[in-house]
Symmetry: C2
Subunit: 217 residues, 2 copies
């Protein structure tokens, strides 16, 4: 065996030994379940949602603090969360945009801002955006806005995080499993949630920061 | 003269006859002045800001309605407005993101939502975003967020406007005139406001819709 091969083997073994403690918020959704399954095979995954014990509500600083005080520090924080109202442009009121901003945008930013103090050095954040940031659909203007906001915020935040913290976002097209939505995405090739989960693994187990992973079929 | 040249002359004459009534909100700022100067040479420009008569506050539906009731219908609506707080990531509170969202994002969306009813058929909206949507700077995460939100919203809104309405955004780098900010934009080549104003003219006098014009040096 050449010395290069030996070095490669040593490095790969070290990578594989990198067992992490990972918080996945929104673990009960279609993507959340797939990410939990994917990362759970090599790491210790802590699932959190509005219905876990303790529950977490990303709209509440206090709820996020309570979650972390319960689970302690972690090596990676993943958010598979965030909703936005879907309505024709003419019907989207200021309150609809505010709802999208509160839930999808500020919910995830709040998790990062508070989570920084519970994320071990070298740890990562992985947020969830979506294809509507770059390809609109009818009734999706508020979702486009929310996704676009995060996709510009993540690269900005990456430049100012400290302690070796990384941050990326996964921006996937419509899910194969979400058959009820396919009619709203004409010509968009759906992808399986398990395929989308690979992008989360790339963020958590890799070295990137400030990236938006575009997952399309 | 060939028939092609004759046709070209006729078409160009018709384009030049297309005298428009254009509302420019934020006309007192550095970009606003340049856009007013550029479009004012061929069109009737109505300037509006917090200090004009009537004044306009894009954070108020009522104020926008009052402005349009005063000036009537227009052929183009331009917004050169919107501010966001600049602070280190660690110091950006939820209220800072909310301020950026209210002023830069919702202020311009509110102008579009209300302005649709005062914009003549075939008329255009031109909004203002900025380079921080795609290239972050230190302390600029809230501005990146606001610009990114609009840059995904504009193409979405373009697909749902009616009566031939168009909408574009201008996303410029740092202005040559804004010397006080240059140190925050290392290596960004500044551009003169008059150069940026050309992109507004492209949106107002051209045929594009759903575009984000990236203006860089």
């Amino acid at each position: 065996m050449s010395s290069v091969e030996t070095a490669d083997t040593v490095i790969l073994a070290r990578v594989r030994e990198n067992h992490m403690k990972i918080l996945i918020v929104g673990s009960s959704g279609t993507v959340g379940k797939a990410v939990t399954s994917r990362l759970g095979s090599d790491h210790t995954v802590i699932e959190a949602s509005r219905s876990t014990n303790p529950p977490v509500d990303l709209n509440s600083d206090e709820s996020i603090h309570e979650l972390f005080q319960s689970i302690g520090t972690v090596d990676a924080i993943v958010a598979c969360t965030g909703v936005a109202p879907f309505k024709p442009l003419r019907d989207l009121a200021g309150s609809d945009y505010q709802d999208a901003f509160n839930d999808k945008v500020m919910g995830q930013i709040r998790l990062v801002n508070i989570g920084r103090d519970y994320l071990n050095a070298g740890g990562s954040f992985t947020l969830t955006t979506g294809i509507l940031a770059r390809e609109p659909i009818l009734t999706g203007a508020a979702a486009s806005l929310a996704n676009g906001a995060l996709e510009s915020w993540v690269p900005a935040a990456a430049t100012e995080l400290d302690r070796g913290h990384r941050i990326n976002a996964v921006s996937a097209t419509v899910l194969a499993e979400a058959t009820g939505y396919h009619a709203f995405f004409p010509g968009f090739v759906p992808v399986a949630a398990a395929y989308v989960a690979a992008a989360y693994a790339k963020s958590v187990e890799g070295t990137h920061t400030g990236k938006v992973y575009k997952v399309e079929g």
